[in-house]
Assembly symmetry: C2
Homo-oligomer: 209 residues x 2
């Protein structure tokens, strides 16, 4: 079992991992001052974040890069396999099934679901697409715990309810809808459309200056 | 020109839009109290968010749904076309080019770039892939302003620098690297891997309870 880390810390850990991977071939130690300068994160915050992983720097040396990489990789759990299904095998869902890069971060997509009979029974990159009525059966067969939601927004809450009822205990929500789930279900939102809104607004408002 | 909105407000606007689209066929007005209850956002915050768009509710009636939808759609600018290029036409980059859903939110991907000669000269879903040395030439030809970064992490900063030098003034960063850009360049991070880390940690730590 792992400690439940604050979300901002979890968001920074992949930065540290990518950073030490870039240094590992040329150096043995890195100071929090230098990490701070290169990543634009406060040095005290870095020390706090890394203390959650049980990693401590050495006086006048800093962090051992190999040790730090090992701790981050182990903690982030990108090397384990985490089985997931995609609900909504349309445009974005299909794109995620095409993204073999997710597997490098431990996400193994084992099935897709849709209501469209022209999709069910087919495969995308070798991943079978089932009718959404089979959510529970496939969960039991595959032991997948994560359901990725890429359905049209009108169906988001309904499909989330179905996934929870079928026993998936983590939802990765790519729809623009604010979904309600029971307390014991994990929900993480990746708001691609909110990020587009942010880009468009910043481009337009930066034109002013 | 549009006002520069706070990021948390911009992140909530797509929720409101999806919400009013679901109500529009059955109702004419919605109160901030009800939006608050359904979306789990404080009512005063909703009123503040919507006031940025110049939308005000009517006493005892609430917000006119059609007017609210129109204001949100107009503000979020999902109906204009925003040209973008994808740098790194591998797994994730290719997946984004497959996602025709982005076009529904105003993002028009006009070109891809890669260094791999087996990819350059080909097309993905009709989108041409060029060698990365042609970033500036293609920007001038297409007037694309947004560069989507889906390169391997070791190349993130270097490719970002090249994109900025080529005149792209907004970067949408999908790599796990913290990228530095000049103040006049917009950068928005979509940290898919950080979100995976969050899901994995929450699943493992929720097992404790």
């Amino acid at each position: 079992m792992k400690p439940r880390l604050p979300e901002p810390t979890l968001r920074r850990l992949p930065w540290y991992l990518a950073y030490v991977k870039m240094l590992r071939n040329s150096e043995e130690y890195v100071s929090s001052t230098r990490i701070s300068r290169d990543l634009g994160v406060d040095a005290a915050r870095i020390a706090k974040d890394l203390s959650f992983l049980g990693v401590k720097g050495k006086t006048r040396m800093g962090y051992n890069i190999a040790e730090l990489e090992c701790a981050l990789t182990g903690f982030l759990d990108f090397t384990s396999s985490h089985r997931a299904v995609v609900i909504g095998a349309g445009s974005l869902g299909g794109a995620l099934m095409h993204d073999s890069g997710l597997a490098q971060y431990g996400l193994e997509i084992v099935a897709g679901f849709d209501v469209n009979p022209s999709l069910t029974g087919t495969t995308v990159c070798g991943i079978p697409i089932y009718d959404v009525s089979r959510l529970q059966e496939v969960r039991t067969q595959t032991d997948a715990r994560i359901a990725i939601l890429t359905v049209p927004y009108e169906l988001s809450q309904q499909v989330a309810d179905e996934a929870v009822a079928a026993g998936y205990n983590a939802l990765w929500n790519f729809t623009p809808v604010r979904i309600a789930v029971p307390d014991n279900v994990v929900i993480v939102n990746t708001s691609i459309y909110a990020h587009l809104a942010l880009i468009y607004n910043r481009i337009n408002s930066s034109d002013e200056t």
